[in-house]
């Protein structure tokens, strides 16, 4: 399973379209995997970020606010989007892996 979290420092970025940094983590079935990597984006762009998500084959996206058009697009592409999440990225990643993260959560 591959999870992407939008970043602002060590927190989940408040806006998907303004995010310039993401955390990508890959997990095996036993929930182990390599160290998550941080990817710096060339600039804030929701379109570019969607392209990266599809190119990387991401299964779950954890983010702050996201516009409905991008949300629906990712859903259509079979990507699960957990949005309006507030809190530290590491904890969000852990909760997403454990399937304990819901949209609108404040962690």
């Amino acid at each position: 399973m591959k999870i992407l979290v939008t970043l602002t420092a060590d927190q989940i970025a408040p806006r998907f379209d303004l995010c310039t940094e993401v955390l990508i983590a890959q997990f095996n079935d036993d929930r182990t995997g390599p160290e998550p990597r941080t990817v710096l984006l060339p600039g804030p762009s929701a379109d570019e970020l969607c392209s990266l998500i599809l190119k990387e084959g991401i299964d779950i996206v954890v983010c702050g606010g996201i516009e409905d058009s991008f949300f629906q697009y990712l859903i259509w592409k079979k990507v699960r989007v957990i949005d309006r999440v507030i809190g530290p990225s590491a904890k969000a990643l852990q909760l997403a892996l454990e399937e304990g993260l819901r949209a609108g959560a404040v962690i």
Binding site: L18, G65, I86, V106
Partner: protein, 458 residues
């Protein structure tokens, strides 16, 4: 009743999203409207940095608002609401001081202005409608310079033939400038009688002259904070040129009949289709004013210089008039395209727009044919050919000289018409010099004069 409850009650009584945030920009309290907008309850997000909750694109501005020396700041931006909708908002940040526990905190009022924005677009036309359309290098030069013109308050002189879009450029500059929230006032100096112009521009007080029954603010005062566009500034009388120069230097003026000075906080843009240098030489325009107006200069290219922009504008106007008149015209016949691409457009974009409006009104089918074009452009004198442009992807085969009559030579049926054409061609070639033209035609100067008079070519 505690102080906190009173504040919450006040906040809930405001019909916009309201947040109270501390000096670390953390949420202290939110009213119900903001809770609905963000999708979080106050309890859930209390103590969390407000930008994570509000999801605005103006997080840096909030820092500035906090350290603004107690002044209220207003900005516009957007937030992503709980329904994943991007909402245009106006944020007003008012610092609160001296209250126990709330020292150096901010009161944020987040006003949803998306409806206002939509109405603004409807009233003013969509940005694409108002934009300067064209891909030609000469127009692109102007478009590239537009942000530079908009950034400064320096006076700008826009020159260019009639109908090239001087007004559109001035308005586009105003709308891109920091003065865009204030009025854009346009005054045509050539359209107002000289006796009324001073009062129109600078206003008057009651009793300033016979018939002045009440105070009149004048365009300078109406444009306060915004942009004043004086079009056809070449027609401005000398007396008013002096007054305009004084206003530009002193940034204040006396309305007619008033002894009290009025401040003029405006950005001045002027436009003219006349050659101001020539007016200077003729003593009809003040040199000092010319240099004062000519700080920045933009020249709007004529449609003849804009190449294939004609095709782009034809399609743009067709779409516009199709929408306005509820028609479903799909396009132009190749002959009509060919003709319109060859036409010289002395009236520039305005003329092209009128031609397309005429054609869309007349056309009852799906395609605009030659017969739907206005008769005047089809007449011999105006069918100004010679431009060898692409038409529907094909190069035109006609290769006539770029002269007034060459396109319609085959239509001359009588000697007088041929002779008339020869005279005009020769006069064009000699730049209007009659002696030289007479020499070229092998006539005496008086014969040429007589024939010019006979054919009504004066």
């Amino acid at each position: 009743m505690s102080g906190q409850i009173e504040i919450i009650d006040i906040m809930n009584g405001i019909p916009h999203g309201v947040a109270l945030i501390d000096k670390q920009l953390r949420i202290f309290s939110m009213n119900r409207i903001l809770e609905v907008m963000t999708g979080y309850s106050t309890q859930a997000v209390q103590g969390i940095e407000c930008n994570y909750v509000l999801r605005t694109d103006r997080d840096e501005w909030l820092n500035k608002a906090l350290n603004n020396g107690g002044e209220t700041l207003i900005c516009e931006g957007s937030v992503i609401d709980a329904n994943r909708k991007r909402v245009s908002v106006r944020i007003t940040a008012s610092p609160l001081k001296g209250r126990e526990g709330l020292d150096e905190s901010l009161l944020l009022v987040i006003e949803d202005i998306s409806m206002l924005k939509e109405m603004d677009i409807k009233l003013q036309g969509s940005p694409e409608k108002k934009a300067l359309l064209g891909n030609s290098p000469k127009l692109q030069e102007i478009i590239e310079l537009l942000p530079v013109f908009a950034y400064t308050d320096a006076t700008l002189l826009i020159t260019g033939e009639t109908g090239t879009g001087k007004d559109l450029l001035a308005e586009a500059i105003h709308r891109s400038s920091k003065r865009s929230k204030y009025p854009f006032i346009k005054v045509n100096c050539g359209a107002i009688p000289e006796t009324l112009l001073e009062s129109e521009l600078f206003g008057h007080v009651r009793g300033a002259f016979t018939g002045a029954n009440s105070d009149k603010p004048g365009m300078f005062r109406l444009a306060q904070g915004g942009t004043l566009f004086l079009t056809e500034v070449g027609d401005l009388p000398l007396k008013l040129q002096v007054k305009l120069l004084t206003v530009l230097d002193d940034k204040e003026f006396y309305p007619l009949g008033s002894s009290k000075k009025t401040k003029a906080d405006i950005r001045l843009i002027t436009g003219t289709h006349r050659d101001l240098k020539q007016l200077l030489d003729e003593g009809k325009f003040r040199e000092d004013l010319y240099y004062r107006l000519n700080v920045l200069r933009a020249h709007m290219p004529s449609l003849r210089e804009r190449g294939d922009d004609v095709l782009l504008l034809m399609n743009h106007f067709l779409k516009e008039f199709n929408n306005n008149l509820g028609k479903r015209i799909k396009g132009f016949a190749s002959s009509a395209i060919d003709y319109l691409l060859r036409y010289e457009y002395p009236g520039n974009v305005r003329e092209l727009r009128n031609i397309i409006e005429h054609a869309v009104n007349i056309c009852q089918g799906n395609i605009i044919q030659m017969a739907h074009l206005p008769a005047y452009i089809l007449s011999a004198g105006n069918s100004n050919s010679g431009k060898d442009k692409k038409s529907g992807g094909q190069l035109s085969e006609t290769k006539e000289e770029p002269t007034v009559f060459s396109a319609s030579k085959r239509e001359f049926v009588s000697w007088p018409e041929i002779e008339k054409g020869r005279i005009l061609e020769t006069m064009m070639a000699t730049g209007g010099n009659r002696s030289e033209a007479a020499l070229k035609l092998g006539w005496s100067r008086s014969t040429l004069w007589r024939k010019i008079k006979h054919y009504g070519l004066e």
